[in-house]
């Protein structure tokens, strides 16, 4: 019983920050600290969100964004792991490309979006492309540094048993790198959610980013906040899923 009480208290402490934030959001417009036209009390914006969900107006936006996030993250994961393994395994390639990758990583998806539009127009290619760009680097760089950090005694040990390079790569280097690969995918996931907003800012007809910007232009401010809340929920849920997957595949690690 005692541990249960403790957990209850712990949960309360952990959500207290959110509660304080929401209370401030609720009272700030009511007490006139901010203009009510621009920021409504949280309850009103939350009701707007419920209404959008119940009326079915939210669904197409949510699905459109999820599809772009899913495709972008999938491509980033495949390309990132593949390239990361190659770069991490071959020291020379790593030396040649490291600075370039560090540079690319710093180029914001925002800055690059006009370039994508220039080449691919307002198509899905530019939207998924920008999400791919934003989320590729964490998984790629984590994978390559993971390969680099594999304990060399494990490789020496398996080699001394007569293992060939293929066995060493797939049975030692790859599993040893998995934890860092999953950390990379998790980071990439949160970048995806940020990038999807950028991708849907211009030239989209659907998506949560579109909902946010279009609502502002139409002076439907509660809907704008509803879109922002939805994006936060998507981000949290995606992170939750990725953490669960990460835990499942790295359960052998010392906690």
């Amino acid at each position: 019983m005692k541990t249960k009480n403790f957990d209850y208290k712990r949960i309360l402490i952990r959500i207290s920050g959110i509660i304080i934030f929401l209370v401030l959001w609720e009272i700030a417009p009511r007490l006139g600290w901010v203009d009510k036209v621009y920021l409504q009390p949280f309850s009103e914006d939350f009701l707007a969100l419920i209404e959008l969900v119940v009326s079915g107006k939210m669904l197409p936006h949510l699905l459109a964004s999820l599809q772009r996030i899913g495709l972008g993250l999938l491509l980033a994961t495949i390309i990132g792991i593949g390239l990361g393994l190659i770069v991490g395994y071959f020291q020379r390639i790593n030396e040649a490309l490291d600075l370039l990758f560090q540079l690319f990583r710093q180029v914001s998806a925002f800055a690059l979006f006009p370039v994508f539009i220039l080449f691919f127009g307002f198509s899905e290619v530019s939207k998924v492309g920008i999400i791919l760009w934003a989320s590729l680097w964490p998984v790629l760089l984590n994978t390559s540094s993971g390969v680099h950090d594999v304990d060399s005694v494990l490789i020496r040990s398996v080699k001394s048993m007569g293992a060939n390079k293929i066995y060493i790569f797939f049975r030692v280097i790859l599993p040893a790198t998995l934890p860092q690969i999953f950390t990379g995918i998790r980071l990439s996931g949160s970048y995806c959610v940020m990038a999807v907003v950028v991708a849907e800012m211009i030239g989209a007809k659907r998506g949560l980013g579109y909902l946010v910007f279009n609502s502002r232009e139409s002076f439907l401010y509660p809907n704008m906040y509803a879109g922002i809340i939805m994006l936060a929920i998507v981000g949290v849920v995606l992170n939750f899923i990725l953490v669960a997957v990460e835990k499942k595949f790295t359960s052998w690690k010392i906690a």
Binding site: D151, V153, L154, R156, S157, V158, K159, S160, M161, G162, A163, N164, Y167, R171, V172, P175, A176, L178, T250, W252, K253, I254
Partner: protein
């Protein structure tokens, strides 16, 4: 022990390039004129101070490093990078942390393409040999250091190599566990008398385990003297307290001491 030569090393040399802070490199001669014969079924220990090159020789013998000169023959053949006939036990256990204990024992068998059922059987049998059958589904991080080293030994025994190399395998263990492991190793070795090359800087460990102790000098590393340990086998815990044991210990101890004094002039370089 037979008189068949398992390993024959002649005039082996190995240099490393060391870089100092100014970026200038100078050669460090680790092994030079290194000669050693290891007989089939023999337990031979390389004993010497830190940095004398004993691990370097073991690595070369294991195909993990290459000599710069000289010749090493194993069963009459030059060393190949890939071999199914040797096993190493490392000081740091080198167990694969994502595999269960049983799966760790299967690695060498997996590499040899042995079928799943057979692998499992052999692994179980060898895990029993080191008294850890109850731990087959645990992960390495759940085991103590001594248990991990038992698993590492069982893993090598599982694929039955002709030559067993042990690189200070008990150096990371606490004193009591270390002594237990030495007796355990003797017990395991008595069963099939594999050829073992054991590396240590502990005199007591070398005397207790070995048929012969090859005492190395350092900078450059070469065999200075080989001493037969004619303590009766099978050896037990009590042999540590025998008169003969202390006589051999005293003898080796004074040799090591001479070597240490000899090296003081090189101290700045190490």
């Amino acid at each position: 022990m037979t008189d068949i030569i398992k390993v024959r090393a002649r005039s082996v040399s190995r240099k490393f390039q060391l870089k100092n802070r100014q970026g200038k490199s100078r050669p460090l001669v680790v092994l030079e004129d290194f000669d050693l014969d290891l007989k089939e079924g023999e337990f031979l220990t390389l004993l010497g101070p830190s940095g004398c090159g004993k691990s370097t020789f073991l690595n070369i013998l294991a195909g993990l490093d290459k000599a710069d000169g000289g010749e090493i023959l194993v069963d009459g053949n030059p060393i190949e990078e890939h071999s199914f006939d040797r096993g190493i036990v490392f000081q740091s256990y080198a167990l694969l942390p994502w595999r269960t204990i049983l799966k760790n024992l299967e690695v060498g068998l997996e590499i040899r393409g042995i079928s799943k059922e057979e692998r499992r059987d052999i692994a179980r049998k060898n895990l029993e040999r080191v008294g850890l059958a109850a731990y087959e589904n645990q992960y390495p991080h759940q085991l103590s250091g001594g248990m991990k080293q038992r698993v590492a030994i069982a893993r090598v025994l599982a694929y039955d190599p002709g030559l067993l190399l042990m690189d200070e395998p008990f150096a990371a263990l606490d004193a009591q566990t270390r002594e237990d492991m030495q007796i355990e190793l003797l017990r395991i070795w008595e069963a099939d008398k594999k050829t073992i090359l054991f590396v240590t800087h502990s005199i007591d460990e070398a005397i207790l385990l070995s048929d012969r102790v090859a005492f190395m000098s350092t900078q450059p590393g070469r065999i200075r003297e080989i001493i037969e340990i004619d303590l009766p086998r099978p050896r037990t815990e009590e042999i540590r307290n025998s008169v003969e044991f202390s006589r051999i210990r005293k003898n080796l101890w004074s040799m090591l001491q001479d070597e240490a004094l000899l090296n003081q002039s090189y101290g700045a370089f190490i």
